[in-house]
Symmetry: C2
Amino acid sequence: MEQLTVYKIGGNVIDDNNMLQIFIRDLASLPGKKILVHGGGKIASSIGKALGIEPKFVDGRRITDRQTLDVVTMVYAGLINKQVVALLQAAGINSIGLSGADANIIPAAKRDVSIIDYGYVGDVSPLTMNTVILRNFIDSGLLPVISPITHDQQGSLLNTNADTIASSVAVALSAFYNVSLIYCFERDGVIDTKDCVIPAISKNEFESLKKDKIITDGMIPKMENAFKAIESGVSSVRICNSSQIKFTRDEVATGTLLSI
Amino acid sequence: MEQLTVYKIGGNVIDDNNMLQIFIRDLASLPGKKILVHGGGKIASSIGKALGIEPKFVDGRRITDRQTLDVVTMVYAGLINKQVVALLQAAGINSIGLSGADANIIPAAKRDVSIIDYGYVGDVSPLTMNTVILRNFIDSGLLPVISPITHDQQGSLLNTNADTIASSVAVALSAFYNVSLIYCFERDGVIDTKDCVIPAISKNEFESLKKDKIITDGMIPKMENAFKAIESGVSSVRICNSSQIKFTRDEVATGTLLSI
């Protein structure tokens, strides 16, 4: 099967213009078929605050009320998505910015409110992704740039975790391509107690590292997502610094490679 | 040639949720190939104001400084574009929201600053539109929903008048389809001094109506755009109420039909 790489960049890369420029330049220089999924960053919170909306979180997850949904739609699907697309175009890469509503690529289900009401939050599944249109874009030479805004197919947009979008897209497309998933962020990988990058982590090692509190907080759902992706057909998942993607194809180890 | 209808909705339709819902419902019920171009409305100004940015206009045209560009990108290409796409999806129409940067469909040139500096404003031409990708979308059953954000191909987004986008897209595609262009707004058409809709206006009549001050202000550039489109290959241009589009295919006259 042909190789496809799904890259995910998060808030810290987006918030730092220099990091973003380097990432885009490197991404443009890499051959092969690609998808880029991006998260949000501080811009949504600061614009929300300026509009008088206080960001609310439960367990590190944003609570999306009606006003917050409008803000994340504006910032993720508008400002960030189009700026990234314009930068890629300038680098010679014909990219297309998409939310999950566009061409119905990512239908979602509004999360059940019985335990915690997360508001307008959408849960997604690799099984319901519109892979036909995504493959059509990729195979015709377009680089899809996906923002983490989905929809319920009943007229409402929904906010979805960008890591989950990245792994779901990677899993859905692993039926058609040999998919590598790369989570890019501002650190060099998963770091041990001596501040060194752990070059590889198996599922069992992950459980130990969690128990020993070496892996904590926001890294836990990210890595759980990653292992789930591997178990569901994705060839490899790497967590690395956004400035290191040009080395991810070499034999040289970059970041942390996850395996079952 | 096959029929294609380019619809343009402006601020007043977007600002009124009821009007927008009716428009979307009617659009979804109409057969045939379509493109929807949308403008902005008061949301951009009110969000800009809340963020401390005062809207500036010269001759009815928005001056787009850096901050204003960010606001219109958020509101037009994000909030409005994705809400319209989600509503169309709910109505059973597979639509795809696009800015001019997406798939490079509308490259633009930053307007010359020698007389008035309009800021980040992009001038477009039917000659440089990426009709291949637009046709690919239309012919594969997608309804493109285009926001008036373009790009300079050098990494900067630009703000472009939505009426101009609509007429440029209509002209560019008139080489491949029999294109009707319909400007939808909150009035029933071009209105005479007795408050009656003028059912048809020729280019010569337009000049007289301008001279007699029956057509004034914002309607002048809209109609000039429309006549230019007809002169450049568009089959017909109609100006009508957004609630009347279901009648535009009938023999019954709806709104104002422009002709050379």
